[in-house]
């Protein structure tokens, strides 16, 4: 027989030939033709055009031919629903056939033809088949109910098939029971709240009886169904366990694992002091170990499950370490999983053996495996304190091999060892430093930098080492940049005298030249911390770190519980809840372990299950930890955050050395005449001080209004440095965006900036460099003039620029009507000034909207004789209120505006702003 020839025909006109052959009178020829059709179908050719011809072959006594035609029908019926009806009669007839194999075949195939019209015809034959005298037909019909339910759930319910299916649970034939259970379980999954699978002690008893008699697959269906049952009490639980344990000796691994699932779940309910509980624990280990002599794919699934079981009940396999030793010929996926479990089982008793093995693995070929082995050595050190020293020396041996990825991995784990045992193994630092150059992976570089920063006081050339990393700062990954920033700050706090320049350099790199918000934020926090209160900075940055916990990579308990309920399934392979990878309603319900009964001692985590949906522990430290930069690696438990906020008051600025009190004073008290009340001053200063964005222009999200930059300092005047800039107000913060262009030949470094004292107390948010303030005798001509000094390595340059006063309008500048009226009256008329805005073609509403976007708020509108009067208010950052009355005459392009303010000096500016906004 050489049926393989059917796979090769690719002639033109093939379809026509097939058509002719299908309509041939000779049975053999027909059959050959159908075979060809099926072969074409398999390789993906479209043979749907032959539908009527193939269906014509359906009427035959030849079972083999019939099956082929059915196969064709299943594939193509959906694309030709009308023609599929042609087949219905044959199906209905076949369902009455005296041969049970044919009856079953018909009902099985009908269920696979997912055409609505056919399902109507399916109901009657199905009803008969569910009550057929032959068990083979009944077991097929049971599955057919699930098929029909998948097509049309309502129909199944209306036709009462579910009740018939339930009756089949009591069928005399075990296989019928098993299939009925499988079908019901599947249907129940899509109706989470229905009591479809009415599991009560009687049905459970029936299932347990069938369990002993049905096929291996049937046993799996029944066990998986049993796992969803919650026994009423510990006695029932025990009796079910007793009847399930024999399954642990089944040759089929799936039967074994499903039995393990049932036992693991029901065990929760057994009192821990019960003898039986101990017996059961002992019985679980051997079958789990036996699974490891199955085929590699099954081993893999078993190992993924054992990983869960070991986390839930470590006592089961604690003496079985050896079976998880890696064999040279194991597939890589088995090796990696075994390694994981070895680490989980490592204890003082077996650590010597484990370490010897791990060292052996670290010399293998597969890079991933070797890395994991090296990492495992580190984890052993953290887990078993007695072994730490040996682990460290093993790691040092491995570093000596100079194999690049081994060295890098070793350094990463040594960092963790330092976290667990501070001040114990510093002697190895010298060896680590030797390998600095070979580190090219971010994680290893970051770990090394962390070590250097942490032990900066003991490393003579720590500053040199860190400086060498700083050169390529922008090419590093974020992880390394963050570590470098922190390490240098640590270094500075430890050796302030020699490293001032370094710290300034890294701070400006982090804040000015980076567009990574994490890095910038961290940079600013350090900066403020250092400038505000170096003592507090020390407390924060050099705070004692919480020791990292020994158990690593544990699955979060609620998720673990859910996964235990899914032992053997894909969820347990992925270590994810079914809802994470199953679409639709199936698997959305979260399964939970039953609470333990009887035992009062030992608060079982299972009993204390919370309602929170399970989630995988994030692999990175939480946000807070990251922000505070306590180097909380993923392996740590987050300690209570140290009190950092105290040092972050914005108003009290203290530039690095703390020796500039006078300047500080100047900066932070605004002109007394302008401050309205102490409280508002502080508030507005908070905003003001925060405003200055040195990294301006780089990757900033663009606001609504973005005026073009103007040249503030031409290059001619500043030895090649050109500064252009603009002021914008975004989200309540005034930002000064500057572009600094180097038009000179030489490199400019050491930039710093300083503002002269000005009317509205604008000051850089980030403290910069100590600078001589500008000579105060310069007259402040326009109020909104800002005199700026920028320093670089060449010289200090002074320039002035004007910022639009609208920058200073704060968002809460909308006054209450009553207050407005009172204030308006209260302000002497001398302070009122009137202006004309010409050639403005907006109507009053549009104007109002436009102004609102610049934080000028319309409080009320009055229309008198066709003239709109808009009453508006705005508030400056320093708390000055400006009140305005805008008169708009319909058809007249000229507006009249009256401004009233306690500080009339600003009126001119405000007017100009009105003009700018309305005409823009």
């Amino acid at each position: 027989m050489t049926d393989s020839k059917y796979f090769t025909t690719t002639k033109k006109g093939e379809i026509f030939e097939l058509k002719a052959e299908l309509n041939s009178d000779k049975k053999e020829k027909k059959k050959e033709a159908v075979k060809k059709v099926i072969a074409s179908m398999t390789v993906g050719k479209d043979v749907s055009a032959l539908f009527p011809d193939v269906v014509n072959c359906m009427q035959t006594d030849n079972l083999e031919l019939k099956k082929l035609v059915y196969l064709y029908l299943m594939n193509y019926a959906k694309s030709q629903p009308d023609m599929a009806i042609m087949a219905v009669n044959t199906f209905v007839k076949d369902c009455e056939d005296p041969n049970p194999l044919i009856r079953a075949l018909a009902v099985r195939t009908m269920g696979c033809i997912r055409v609505d019209k056919i399902t109507e015809y399916l109901c009657e034959p199905l009803r008969k088949c569910l009550k057929d005298e032959d068990p083979y037909v009944r077991k097929t019909a049971a599955v057919c109910v699930a098929k029909l339910h998948d097509i049309n759930a309502q129909l199944v319910e209306d036709q009462g098939f579910l009740d018939t299916l339930k009756d089949l649970i009591s069928d005399s034939n075990p296989m019928v029971v098993a299939n009925a259970v499988a079908a019901l379980s599947e249907i129940a999954e899509s109706h989470p709240n229905s009591n479809l699978l009415d599991l009560n002690p009687q049905t459970i008893n029936k299932l347990l009886t069938a369990l002993n008699e049905c096929t291996e697959w049937g046993q799996i269906f029944i066990l998986d169904c049993l796992a969803n049952y919650t026994p009423r009490d510990d006695r029932e639980s025990q009796s079910i366990c007793e009847r399930v344990t024999p399954r642990l000796s089944h040759a089929n691994s799936a039967v074994v694992l499903s039995a393990v699932k049932v036992l693991m779940k029901f065990m929760e309910m057994l009192p821990k002091d019960l003898d039986y509980y101990g017996t059961l624990l002992k019985k679980l280990a051997p079958p789990l170990v036996t699974l490891l002599s199955a085929e590699p794919e099954l081993q893999y699934v078993a190992l993924r499950n054992i990983n869960l079981i070991v986390q839930r009940r470590p006592e089961i396999l604690k003496h079985e370490m050896k079976v998880f030793f890696v064999k040279y010929n194991d597939p890589i996926y088995v090796k990696l999983e075994k390694l994981d479990i070895m680490i989980r089982l490592a204890s003082q008793a077996n650590i010597a053996q484990v370490l010897a093995e791990l060292k052996e693995y670290a010399t293998e070929v597969d890079v991933d495996f070797v890395r994991k082995a090296v990492r495992a050595i580190g984890r052993c050190a953290i887990k078993v304190e007695q072994s730490a020293e040996r682990c460290v020396s093993t790691l040092l041996d491995l570093i000596q091999t100079k194999v690049n990825y081994v060295v890098q991995e070793a350094i990463v784990v040594i960092k963790d060892i330092f976290r667990k045992y501070p001040n114990k193994y510093e002697s190895v630092i010298a060896t680590l430093c030797e390998n600095l150059d070979s580190l090219d992976e971010p994680e290893a570089r970051a770990a090394m930098i962390w070590i250097v920063g942490e032990y900066a006081e003991r490393i003579d050339n720590a500053d040199e080492l860190l400086e060498s990393f700083l050169e390529g700062f922008h090419d590093e990954s974020t992880q390394v940049q963050l570590q470098l920033l922190t390490a240098i700050v640590k270094l500075f706090l430890k050796k302030p005298t020699e490293t001032q320049e370094l710290v300034q350099q890294v701070l400006s790199l982090a804040t000015q030249d980076s567009d990574n918000p994490d890095l910038r934020d961290r940079g600013y926090i350090y900066w403020r911390l250092l400038s505000t209160d170096p003592v507090a900075a020390k407390e924060v940055v050099l705070a004692e770190k919480p020791l990292i916990s020994e158990e690593t990579d544990l699955i979060e308990p609620t998720l673990l519980e859910e996964l235990i309920c899914h032992i053997g399934t894909l969820a347990s392979v992925y270590h994810k809840p079914p809802s994470a990878f199953v679409e639709g309603s199936r698997g959305v319900q979260h399964k939970r372990l039953p609470g333990s009964a009887g035992s009062v001692e030992s608060p079982d985590p299972g009993a204390a299950a919370t309602e929170t949906p399970p989630a995988v522990i994030p692999s990175q430290g939480d946000l807070l930890g990251d922000l505070l930069n306590l180097d909380l690696t993923p392996t740590t438990t987050t300690g209570p955050p140290p009190p950092t906020t105290s040092g972050m008051q914005m108003g009290a600025m203290d530039l690095l050395s703390g020796g500039l009190d006078s300047l500080v004073g100047l900066l932070h008290q605004g002109p007394p005449s302008l401050s309205a009340s102490p409280s508002t001053t502080t508030a507005s200063f908070g905003g003001l001080d925060d405003l200055f964005d040195l990294g301006g222009g780089v990757g900033m999200p663009m606001g609504a209004l973005n005026p073009p930059k103007a040249v503030w300092l031409p290059a001619m005047k500043a030895k090649g440095l050109e500064i252009s800039g603009v002021f914008v107000r975004r989200a309540g913060v005034i930002q000064m965006e500057m572009t600094l262009t180097n038009k000179a030949m030489s490199v400019m470094t050491d930039f710093a900036i300083q503002f002269n004292r000005n009317s509205f107390g604008l000051a850089p948010a980030g403290p910069l460099q100590i600078l001589t303030p500008l000579s105060p005798n310069q007259s402040i001509e326009p109020l909104n003039n800002l005199q700026v000094a920028v320093k670089n390595n060449i010289d200090v340059f002074y320039f002035s620029c004007q910022y639009p006063i609208s920058m200073l309008f704060v968002e809460d500048g909308k006054m209450e009507r009553q207050v407005f009226l009172a204030t308006w009256k209260d302000i002497p008329n001398d302070n009122e000034s009137q202006f004309q805005i010409k050639d403005c073609h907006l109507n009053s509403d549009a104007a109002s909207n436009k102004l609102q976007s610049s934080n000028i708020f319309t409080i009320a509108k009055r229309t008198v004789e066709g003239q709109d009067m808009l009453y508006q208010s705005m508030k400056l950052t320093n708390g000055i209120w400006v009140l305005a009355e805008l008169r708009v005459q319909a058809g007249n392009p000229n507006y009249t505006i009256s401004l009233k303010c306690r500080a009339p000096e600003v009126s001119q500016c405000v007017f100009q702003n009105y003009e700018a906004v309305l005409k823009n």
């Binding site: 390789v43 049970p100 024999p246 000796s249 089929n252 799936a254 199936r586």
Partner: protein, 440 residues
């Protein structure tokens, strides 16, 4: 449950494609896209297969590979993964029982049969009875076989029945029974001769040609059973038999064995399938007889030479003979030449396998033999040291390294008149090397 089952050749061409559920894709294009996805991501993946379970486009693929053939099951649900893999293996067994080796040629030649089988043993993705004994009664490639009504109901009751693995009415003129105890002994030894791990995984394989529906009972020197009996009998008995009993860590049985009976009485009783089957598998770790000891000596002489000496010692009764002995000594990738001297057998350096293979046909117990090799290496700048894979060994010995002994195998057939004594029984013990490695 399983949404679809596909068979590919090594090129990733689809040989068999059977869809059970619509959720894995529509009838036409959807499935083709999935088939392609698996081919691209797994069969043609650049890297070595990292997991037998792959999730592509929210569809899980579980696959196994037999020679050049890939079998993959696709699903969108949270299926019982263990069951799917067991099923895939079973599928391989069934196919092998029908047409021999699973090769591209055989699959193509039997594709109609495979579709028929897939229709029968997987319904809506639920595995159904897959015992070849039962399947062969009604899935034949002989065309139409008109069955009488009795035959039909016999088939269906067998397929669904409690004893799905055996049909009624089997008759033999000579009732015969072959029992093989096949053990593979696994060892991992340190260079210093310390046993790092050792276990025996054994199988009891039977071939039974028995008439009727015989009830069988199998007994072996299981420590638990013997201790139990010892309690009943005299203390002398315990001392006598206790020595010879072995501690079985765990065992699993063919589905014909009554597991609940084993659980309570630890007795192995069953109605055997006809012909070949595997009655049980077991594992032992205590008091294993390690038939061979390998003593490696590796010395690096300078950077371009390696001296290897390996001594093997046989450790069993001198009256017994081990066969098919093969020692495999890995050599570095930079090997340029090898000189070999061995006391016994033949040794060869196989450059393509990077190993020295030393073969000895036979070796009696309590003997010793050795091989020495001088390996020339090419000088390299590679800093990475040679990983030194372990020395592995293969052999076959005529005893069970676990110490397992068959005590009895009783056959009762109440309906037919033949007794236990009339059954001719053959028992054989074979110990083979599993993964038998010594690190060097």
């Amino acid at each position: 449950m399983i949404g679809g089952l596909f068979i590919y050749n090594h090129k990733g061409e689809v040989l068999i494609s059977r869809v059970y559920r619509d959720d894995i894709g529509g009838p036409l294009n959807g499935v083709m896209i999935l088939l392609d996805a698996f081919r691209v991501n797994v069969i043609h993946a650049r890297q070595q297969v990292r997991s037998p379970v792959t999730n592509i486009a929210r569809t899980s693929f579980l696959h196994v590979k037999r020679s050049n053939i890939w079998l993959a099951a696709a699903t969108k649900q949270n299926v019982n993964a263990t069951m799917v893999f067991e099923f895939l293996y079973k599928m391989c067994d069934v196919m092998a029982a029908y047409f021999g080796k699973i090769s591209e040629e055989n699959v193509k030649n039997n594709f109609v049969l495979i579709y028929e089988l897939l229709d029968e043993i997987l319904d809506f993705g639920y595995p159904q009875n897959s015992e070849t004994g039962a399947l062969k009664t009604f899935i034949t490639q002989q065309g139409i076989k008109s069955q009488t009504k009795e035959e039909q109901s016999q088939i269906t009751s067998q397929v669904t029945g409690q004893i799905g693995w055996r049909r009624e009415g089997i008759k033999y003129r000579r009732n015969e029974l072959f029992l093989d105890v096949l053990e593979s002994v696994n060892l991992l030894m340190s260079p210093q001769g310390q046993v790092l791990s050792a276990h025996v995984s054994g199988r009891v394989v039977m071939k039974s040609y028995l008439s009727g529906m015989p009830e069988c009972k199998f007994g072996m020197n299981d420590k638990i059973v013997i201790d139990k009996q010892g309690k009943g009998g005299g203390s002398e008995d315990v001392a006598k038999s206790g020595k010879q009993s072995i501690a079985i860590d765990d065992c699993t049985f063919h589905q014909c064995v009554r597991l609940s009976k084993f659980d309570t009485e630890r007795s192995i009783s069953f109605i055997p399938p006809d012909g070949d089957y595997e009655l049980m598998r077991y594992r032992t770790t205590k008091d294993i007889i390690l038939p061979f000891r390998v003593i490696p000596l590796v010395r690096e002489v300078g950077r371009t030479r390696l001296e290897v000496k390996v001594v093997i010692k046989s450790n069993f009764k001198s009256s017994l003979l081990a066969q098919k002995i093969e020692v495999r000594i890995p050599t570095p990738l930079t090997t340029s030449g090898v000189q070999l001297i061995c006391m016994k057998g033949k040794a060869k350096y196989k450059a393509s396998e990077n190993a020295i293979v030393w073969k000895v046909k036979r070796m009696a117990g309590m003997k010793e033999s050795q091989i020495s090799a001088e390996i020339e290496l090419l000088p390299t700048n590679d800093k990475k040291k040679w990983a030194r894979p372990p020395i592995s060994m293969n052999f076959e010995v005529p005893f069970a390294p676990s110490g397992l002994k068959v005590r009895y195998l009783k056959v009762f057939e109440p309906k037919l008149n033949y007794s236990d004594h009339d059954v001719i029984k053959w028992v054989r013990y074979i110990g083979r090397s599993g993964i038998y490695e010594t690190r060097c």
